[in-house]
Amino acid sequence: MDSFLTYTVLGLVSGAGYAVAAGGLVVTYATSRIFNIGHGAVGMVMAFLFWELSAGRGLPAWAAVALVVLVVAPLCGALAERTVLRDLGEAPSDVALVVTVALMVALLGLAQTLWPPKPRPVSPFFEGHGFHLGSAFVGAHDLLTVAAGLLVAAGLSVLLRFTRTGAAMRATVHDPGLLALFGGRPAWTTSLSWAIGASLAALSGILLTPVVQLDYYGLTLLVISAYSAAMLGRLTSLPMTYLGALALGLLQSYTVGYLPTSGAFTGLRPAIPALFLFAVLVFLRSPQARLGRLRGAAGVAVASSRRAAPWAAVFVVAAAVAAAALPAEQALVVALGVVYGIVMLSMVLLNGYGGQVSLAQLTFAGVGAVVAARWASGSVLSLVAAAVVAAAVGALVALPALRLHGLYLALATLAFGQLMDKVVFQADFAFGYNGALDVRRLTVLGVRFGTEKAYLVLSAVVFALVGAGLLALRRGPYGRLVLALRDSETACATLGLNARLARVVLFAASAGIAGLAGALMGGLRQSVSASDFMVFNSLPLLLLAVACGVTSVTGAALGGAALAWLPKLQAQFPAAGGLLFLVVGVAAVALRSEPNGIAGWVFRFGRETVAARWTRLSGGPSPDAEPVDVGPVEAVGHAPR
């Protein structure tokens, strides 16, 4: 009974912290219809900044809090809104998602660059002060946190319900032009809401630091807790959000207190928010998704098999030449790039064609690797099994998010990835606790692929086959359905197309491709561990895929190469560490204006050169738009808006 009280207090305190963060999410969402995945990361950076100012620079704690929460965070929030987030609410939801993911990755990079890993103990405010409640000790910091949670919930409710500014915030999301005609200032209103959001993220980060500690990822993942709470309030109701946050805090605290500390449940604690999120997704009806806005229709030019086949051959031959010419060690890197390219192909299918975002594609690769190691290792069957099992897992993840909008699916994948990291991958039937698995290299029809070089060629063949398969799929009726789904789900529903089934199939197929890549990666590396497939590694993968062109097979090849090359670069310039994350994040944001990424530029460049050459040869204008022989011109997704 005694400990019960203690756990209750602990739970209420973290719940109040979540409530502060969730309040910030609700405000920004209510004003701009953007769900900021980077919300937790903002809190993380601000918590580090607070540490820097107070512990590092000796500022009194209250001054540091005031400076961070009232000045720096709001300014950064407003600045981010002005520069990258403006009008994103109008963009297709996957673009908005990717940009906030980029924000998150960039902030993670920034934090790791400015504050390299080292222990940074943080003590609570007014340490030692407090009072006893029965047997439980309630610290002053705890009280402060609970008070902050209440104040924020009440303050935000008053702001949104009873003030003109609050009404303007909710009005501007509907029609900023009309608000201007009313005499309001929509731009200013939106900036204000992001300033408030960032400020609350900072406050929650600082308040929760003594609980979570100054941990890049722990604080960043607060977004999952905050999001679950906000979901309970359907992203609009602040009281429900507050209650949800408290319930989540309590649940987490009781789990820590009463679950056995050994065996299968060890990893469960950090996964509670993820589980909670799944429960919320499954049991709650979704807040109304944005309905039927017709998005940038696809300007599609999919390469025919006849045009794609030579390029596939060129790709494989190039891989073979590279395998012959390069030393084994470098062949490994190139092969890894090709394997990553296959993971990116899975994103081309899901995101480029389908407009859905998964934040845990590497997790599916991990599933594939485990299967390939555990079952029929070394035979082709293991590849097939890896793909099938990963696809089944993918379908399982997509099912609860079925009724929901792409955003919820994306968050469900983030939660799923975290769950896999903490619980499933650590289990004995997977990698084992902090363990690694040996994967045997393949023997196909008596031919043994025993070396890195052989794997390079093998991976290139698989990449070419999968790429060709995607193009064929894209040209077929299913591809048209997927594209139609992306452009207007509502319209598809009114046409009687089975959107849900199509979405699950899409997601499962994409997970299957990732699983296949995971199996190949296992064979290539010969030993893989859970850390190779951490969910946070999926995020740079997603961003590179988008930056290089997630709408085309060519983009996937470029992105895979870039991803394999990044750690090499990082090893050469260790100082660049987190900076690379920063660069990738910024690049993804910059490239959002070119939805076809670098590959889009390549195609256009190729087309222009051909056009120019044609003009020179014939002395006349080129017969526009016959982009022959310029490159693997293929599915090009959203027409630039």
Partner: protein
């Protein structure tokens, strides 16, 4: 009688598509002027250009003698130009009261705004806590027009007040506009269906293919309307 709203040679459009090909129009002070014209003539575009939502590529827009080309819509609104755009110019995701709260940018207090609104349109009082999106079309239009009543406009632009409404309601709303004009507000009302508005208007103009095809007293314009619509293209 001087012109409070004056357009000379105004050209405007969307991107490379020009919709207004040089519009000349004077709207005299304290008058209710009806702007008529067939679908796609550019009437809404003309209002948007005056309101600052669309930028004139050439020509001049003067409001009370001030050159306002390129002014921001918010700034114009705060200076006394009230625009009630096409469609339902209310925020459907806010309640009636919250919509009224947003009408206080003109400087009136919220209580005063409510008093005016509920006094003129008692039906709004009954539905004060309902979402504006759940009101009937007529009630929404009343709510939208309330802004014209409480914002003390110098110039009022109204686009297709009648759209989708019963004739009774339309007549009631146009009486409100006529009342405002009597109080000295300069009103420019765009209409597709001429009869109701011509009955209360002081002046009328017809826009065809992005040009003013005729302007003058409502009675004469009304008589020539069919010919103007059909022959104006030539």
């Amino acid at each position: 009688m001087s012109a409070v709203l004056e357009l000379t040679g105004v050209r405007a459009g969307y991107g490379r598509i020009e919709v207004l090909h040089g519009v000349d129009l004077d709207v005299p002070e304290g008058s209710l002027t009806a702007l008529l014209g067939p679908n796609g003539a550019g009437k809404s575009t003309l209002l948007k250009t005056v309101a600052g939502l669309v930028r004139a590529t050439s020509g001049h827009v003067h409001l009370s003698g001030v050159h306002v080309n390129g002014a921001a819509p918010g700034a114009l609104a705060r200076a006394g130009l009230v625009t009630v755009p096409e469609g339902r110019a209310v925020f459907p995701n806010l309640t009636v009261e919250e919509n009224l709260r947003l009408m206080t940018y003109g400087g009136r207090r919220e209580a005063a705004v409510r008093e005016t609104a509920f006094g003129r349109f008692p039906r709004l009082a009954e539905r004060r806590r309902s979402l504006a999106g759940s009101l009937s079309g007529g009630e929404q239009q009343m709510l939208a027009l309330t802004r014209a009543l409480v914002a003390d406009p110098v110039v009022l632009l109204v686009d297709e007040l009648s759209m989708g409404l019963a004739p009774m309601v339309v007549a009631e709303l146009y009486d409100v506009l006529a009342g405002l004009a009597d109080d000295g507000v300069t009103v420019l009302a765009v209409e597709q269906f001429a009869a109701t508005v011509l009955a209360v208007a002081d002046h009328a103009a017809v826009l065809v293919h992005g040009r003013i095809a005729a302007a003058g007293p409502p009675r004469r314009i009304g008589a020539d309307l069919a010919e103007l619509y059909l022959g104006g293209a030539a």
